[in-house]
């Protein structure tokens, strides 16, 4: 069918893009200053030991040879071993990935829905007290300095009030004992609440403002007058005729921000010691752990590409005028 063909073409496009980015990343890391071995601070290492280590890691080969090996390994599912952990990178990634996905999709989707809903109301009541409160609030969210806000939240709700844990994703004692699945879920939610709250507010502002301005534009369209001329109620005009059109740019923005949220979210993960990809990425980059850093970036690339695919398809579904 037509949609199947579209998806197929998009997938090919994405695959090509993915390998281009993979290649660029590979050489970028090799070109970066510093070497991984010098970070493994062990004063007893002799220069010979260091040479040996470098050879073990395959770093004595020329870059293009390393690249060919890397690609070969990639296709056999081997992303290499982390210099630091000494473990296969894929294990580390698979371990961190769910945490990040859980946190970011939840916060982005919640923020998007809330932003669309509140932005719709703000635009509909333009100039009213509600609009002013929402707009100023959104502007504040938008300009929040992430580390400051995250630390503030952590300090207030975890340290001062003690309502939430200071970090991590689980309380280990619950997982050693044979606790029910439900209790474990509650435990994860309890840990997730503060980082979620932080990310929610950080994203809420821009979604709200985007929806508000998009909705204001739509409300000036001729078809809104047509809808009023039919005698439809305000609620139907607002929700059916205006909001659906106005939400289209927000969908695009969700796709884009999912990309940035993983990078930008690294700080949030760091502060709340959330064991996700972002935190691992910061660690890997600052330690020249090429295989790990590269894999983290590749993963982010994949997520961004797939998110964009989903956004494209969703957009086509929401806006009948679009066909790829």
């Amino acid at each position: 069918m037509k949609t199947k063909k579209i998806i197929f073409n998009k997938l090919i496009e994405i695959t090509i893009l993915f390998f281009i980015i993979l290649t660029v990343l590979f050489f970028l890391f090799r070109a970066a200053p510093g070497d991984p071995v010098s970070r493994m601070v062990d004063p007893t290492l002799t220069p010979e030991d260091i040479q040996l280590l470098i050879a073990q890691m395959g770093l004595d080969e020329p870059a293009w040879k390393q690249y060919i090996i890397y690609i070969k390994n990639f296709f056999s599912g081997n992303l290499g071993h982390s210099f630091h952990y000494g473990e296969p990178v894929s294990n580390i990634i698979l371990d961190r990935m769910p945490c990040t996905i859980l946190l970011f999709t939840t916060s982005t989707l919640l923020a998007a829905f809330a932003g669309v809903f509140l932005g719709k109301i703000a635009a509909w009541k333009k100039g009213s007290a509600i609009d002013n409160v929402l707009s100023i609030g959104a502007l504040l969210c938008h300009t929040l300095f992430i580390p400051w806000f995250a630390l503030l939240v952590l300090w207030a709700f975890a340290y001062k009030l003690g309502w939430f844990p200071l970090g991590g994703i689980i309380s280990p004692e619950l997982w050693i004992n044979d606790t029910s699945f439900f209790i474990k879920m509650l435990d994860v939610l309890h840990h997730m609440f503060l980082p979620l709250l932080t990310l929610f507010f950080i994203h809420l502002g821009s979604y709200l403002l985007l929806m508000r301005s998009s909705m204001l534009g739509v409300l000036k369209e001729e078809y809104i007058i047509t809808a009023r001329a039919k005698g439809l109620s305000d609620k139907v005009i607002r929700n059916k005729h205006a909001a659906r059109n106005a939400a289209l740019p927000v969908i695009t923005s969700v796709g884009l921000s999912l990309a940035f949220s993983i990078n930008g979210g690294a700080l949030t993960e760091q502060i709340f010691t959330w064991p996700g990809i972002g935190r691992e990425l910061i660690f890997a980059v600052s330690n020249n752990d090429y295989p790990l850093a590269q894999a983290c970036f590749l993963l982010i690339t994949a997520v961004v590409l797939i998110a964009n695919l989903i956004v494209d398809l969703l957009y086509a579904y929401m806006d009948p005028r679009i066909s790829y």
Partner: protein, 325 residues
């Protein structure tokens, strides 16, 4: 009794520079099954009249005075609730398709079904969809195009869909505001035929608004010529076309027709747009008029009866002077 009777209606828009007197002291009426045309250059207040009759004036606009009696109700005193039940049911409007009047993300049949549904809440879904089909066949859109989205339609089909939307609840009066302005001539012709056919078939009254006097004359038996918020001449189409009396009507006809019969008329040329904010009380056309009379600039012109149906807003001696030229 007339279906709609508008008396001494004035509508103004608040603006930074002052009140824009977009519609001034106009009176007209329309009988059931008749068609009345409003013609005049852009900005003369035609759309304002249409929007006033629909209760769709923007927030900065207000009815300054006058009565609008429709079927025994004074529309000027309607609240939001009453307007909602009224619009689309008793009076409906045909908008310009080229102006994005159809919602791009909603299927066409749904956009028509929702008018029927809102004004007939008790009607079953299948009755509504049958009604939609009936209206589609009336405006000659093939049934297999019902479920399309607006962008899949041609300009002419979109306009037909908009007409279908206006007809959905069989209103007593339809206001068509420049419905064919952006269409090419052949499609325009088809749409005008459609409107005339439907008007006859359903015995609906039509108020037809256009800047194009040829189009208005095609559709309407009665014509009001507007200038600067005033109706300046009204009469049957034959009267206005064959013996235009107001200097502005002559200008308007002169700009569309270069028939021999008009060549010898002393046609004034429009040099400046009327100022709608300052009210001098004089004739708004005086700055452009060839009459060069002092009287026009300060004294309010009066309705001069030319026949039982034909009137012009001027001064009797000036109209006659012109005739003697």
């Amino acid at each position: 009794m007339a279906l709609l009777k508008v008396e001494n209606l004035s509508v103004g828009y608040k603006s930074k520079k002052g009140m824009v007197n977009a519609v001034n002291n106009i009176s007209f009426s329309i009988e059931q099954g008749r068609s009345l045309g409003f013609v005049g250059e852009s900005g003369c207040g035609k759309t304002t009249i249409g929007m006033t009759l629909m209760g769709l004036l923007p927030e900065n606009a207000s009815i300054l005075k006058g009565d609008i009696i429709f079927n025994g109700n004074n529309l000027a005193s309607f609240n939001d609730e009453k307007w909602r039940a009224f619009r689309g049911k008793e009076i409906s409007m045909i908008f310009q398709a080229a102006m994005n009047a159809l919602n791009p993300v909603i299927r066409v049949d749904e956009q028509i079904a929702e008018v029927i549904q809102i004004h007939n809440p008790a009607m079953s879904k299948s009755d509504v969809s049958n009604q939609v089909k009936k209206i589609f066949s009336l405006v000659e859109i093939p049934e297999d195009r019902l479920r399309d989205f607006p962008h899949q339609y041609s300009g002419g089909m979109k306009q037909r869909a908009i007409i279908a939307m206006a007809l959905a609840c069989a209103p007593k009066l339809i206001i068509a505001d420049e419905p064919t302005t952006a269409l090419d001539v052949i499609v325009q012709d088809q749409i005008l035929k459609e409107i005339k056919k439907i008007q006859k078939a359903l015995n609906t009254s039509v108020i037809f608004i256009s800047h194009d006097i040829a189009v208005v004359a095609d559709v309407c038996k009665d014509i009001c010529v507007m200038y600067g918020g005033h109706i300046v001449e009204k009469g049957t189409r034959e009267e206005v076309f064959k013996s235009p009396r107001h200097p502005y009507t002559k200008t308007l006809l002169g700009s569309y027709l270069t028939l021999d019969s008009y060549e010898d008329i002393n046609v004034p040329e429009i040099r400046e747009a009327p100022d709608l904010i300052t009210m001098t009380g004089g004739c708004r056309f005086s700055a452009n008029c060839n009459c060069k009379s002092q009287k026009c600039q300060c004294q309010t012109p009066e309705w001069v009866n030319l026949s039982s149906t034909h009137q012009a807003l001027c001064f009797e001696e000036l109209l006659n002077k012109d005739k003697n030229d």
